[in-house]
């Protein structure tokens, strides 16, 4: 596990997310953990800016819709498992649509693909996600509104490489 920053304000958190977004090439799976109000959607919005989707300002919480798709040169598929219950079905299909897509009520083509990035909020409800993924944990200390700790764990070679490049990018920058 890598500690990417602590006591981050919103500017620093979103800078880190934008940096990650700019490093994504397609096909990545990002699992976002954090309690309610930790900043998962805010992180994803900044990630979308860095990634360069067509309308990053339209990234909002997918809690209600479950899955919001943001087209662009590389499409961001933004999923929320807060409405628990379907997560295990996602597990069965891995990152390839099918059963997970059916559980989320999506046509399979929308979830998978080498030019797409899957960002999953409330990912702790996904019992065993596909092996190659980057788990990003945002923690808000109790009783404080404007401070976050950002951690990430890479599973699999693709995610490990991504995490290395993300850390290097953050070190080069001055945001954190």
């Amino acid at each position: 596990m890598a500690l990417l920053g602590h006591d981050l304000d919103e500017t620093a958190l979103t800078a880190a997310a934008r940096a990650l977004g700019s490093l994504l090439r397609g096909g990545e799976l990002l699992l976002l953990d954090g309690a309610m109000g930790a900043g998962k959607t805010t992180f994803t919005r900044a990630l979308a800016e860095g990634l360069g989707v067509d309308r990053p300002e339209r990234v909002t919480s997918p809690t209600f819709a479950l899955c919001l798709i943001h087209p662009g040169p590389r499409t961001l598929v933004h999923i929320d498992l807060y409405r628990r219950g379907e997560a295990d079905d996602v597990q069965q299909s891995g990152h390839t649509g099918g059963a997970g897509a059916a559980a989320l009520g999506l046509d399979s083509g929308e979830l998978a693909g080498p030019d797409k990035i899957l960002a999953v909020e409330w990912a702790e409800y996904w019992i065993s996600p596909p092996e190659d993924h980057l788990r990003i944990v945002i923690v808000r200390p109790p009783g404080v509104a404007a401070s976050r700790t950002l951690e990430a764990t890479a599973a699999g070679p693709g995610a490990a490489d991504l995490l290395d490049r993300w850390i290097a990018s953050i070190r080069r920058g001055t945001a954190i």
Binding site: M36, T41, T60, S61, A65, A103, L104, G105, D107, A145
Partner: protein
């Protein structure tokens, strides 16, 4: 094989009863209400809604797979009831079928869409897919036995629901421009999540609204997000949600009904202040004479009262649908479809999870 009674028996002599507009059977199943309606233009002959609230309350929110199961069981009885209440024995004399095509839970949408496709194929009627939020825009125009239908005039629509918080410039049917939206949580989602934090049952909006009426909106000071920048028409409710969490972490759960009511009133005031301020700002900027508040959260009494006061002060017309058309219903889908038909739209259905109301597929030339 057993004989099944012919329920949709053709009735002779039943033609078009009025010249109010196209007669449409409309179907809605995008979330947790299974609904069907018969409209003639913007006039509602029947509107039937089968709610699943009690099904999902046990889980503290909508479970998509369960919603789909219940839609499947409810879809035919709801259609039959809508036809019966409208006095229509069959789909003779109808001009079209309309169905919500998105946004929503695709597994839920598909129940209404497939039933509508089957009905359309069987009857030869054209099928019109309607954007759910376009339906909400038309919810404020509907008329029925107790209410005169309205013509669509250019207005600012504040679309507020569980999944949406948007400011939309409505010029005419099929001409929509989103000018502001939430950066994070939708307002209805914020109501639901805060309600859950403080132990109020799902759905949270009505519970908070009712308690807020007993409380002091100035008891607690919660942030009014995104009000600082006078040019911004964006909303953010995530910070408010976190502020309520921090309040609960530092002060503990409410220790009396009055404290609970004060918390609800203070939270609702923070939400309403932002919604009303942004709507006023957007209306003034666009120079529009009307503001419509539509969507499930438009049922909120605090929001209605504040918008009415703002309308008085600023001199604009404020309009919200009657409570029976605030929540998801099929009458509004029929009303929107009727307007699209009159405007010359071609029949088509495109099922989608998350296209915005100003998507090219929704707009009309």
């Amino acid at each position: 094989m057993s004989e099944v009674p012919l329920l949709l028996r053709e009735t002779s002599g039943e033609g078009r009863a009025t010249d109010r507009g196209p007669r449409i059977l409309a179907i809605e199943s995008s979330c947790d209400e299974t609904a069907a309606a018969v409209v003639e233009g913007g006039w509602v002959r029947s509107s039937v809604v089968a709610s699943q609230v009690s099904v999902h309350a046990a889980f503290g929110g909508i479970v998509p797979e369960l919603a789909s199961r219940h839609h499947l069981g409810a879809i035919v009885p709801v259609i039959e009831e809508a036809l019966a209440q409208a006095g229509c024995g069959a789909l003779s004399g109808f001009d079209a079928i309309a169905v919500t095509e998105g946004p929503g839970l695709v597994g839920a949408l598909l129940i209404g869409v497939q039933a509508a496709r089957g009905l359309a194929a069987a009857t030869g009627l054209p099928l019109f897919g309607v954007h759910h939020m376009e339906g909400h825009v038309f919810s404020a125009m509907l008329g029925d036995d107790a209410l005169a239908a309205r013509e669509l005039e250019p207005h600012l629509a504040l679309l507020v629901s569980g999944g949406h918080t948007e400011l939309c410039e409505v010029t005419r049917v099929g001409r929509y421009r989103l000018i502001g939206a939430t950066r994070d949580d939708a307002v209805g989602e914020a109501f639901d999540k805060v309600a859950k934090m403080i132990g109020l049952p799902y759905p949270g909006g009505p519970a908070i609204d009712a308690l807020a009426a007993e409380g002091d909106p100035r008891a607690l000071s919660f942030p009014r997000s995104m009000l600082g920048d006078p040019t911004s028409l964006e909303f953010s409710f995530s910070g408010l949600k976190t502020a309520v969490l921090v309040h609960l972490e530092t002060r503990g759960a409410p220790r009396s009904r009055q404290e609970l009511a004060d918390l609800c009133a203070s939270f609702q005031a923070a939400v309403v202040d932002v919604l009303v301020a942004k709507a006023r700002r957007a209306r003034a900027r666009l120079g529009l004479g009307r503001v419509h508040v539509v969507g499930g959260v438009s049922a909120n009494r605090g929001l209605r009262a504040a918008m009415a006061a703002a309308a008085e002060e600023d001199g604009f017309v404020f309009c919200a649908p009657p409570l029976r058309y605030c929540g998801d219903n099929a009458a509004m889908i029929g009303g929107a479809a009727a307007a699209r038909i009159v405007a010359g739209a071609a029949p088509s259905v495109f099922v989608h999870t998350s296209k915005a109301i100003d998507d090219p597929r929704v707009l009309l030339p």
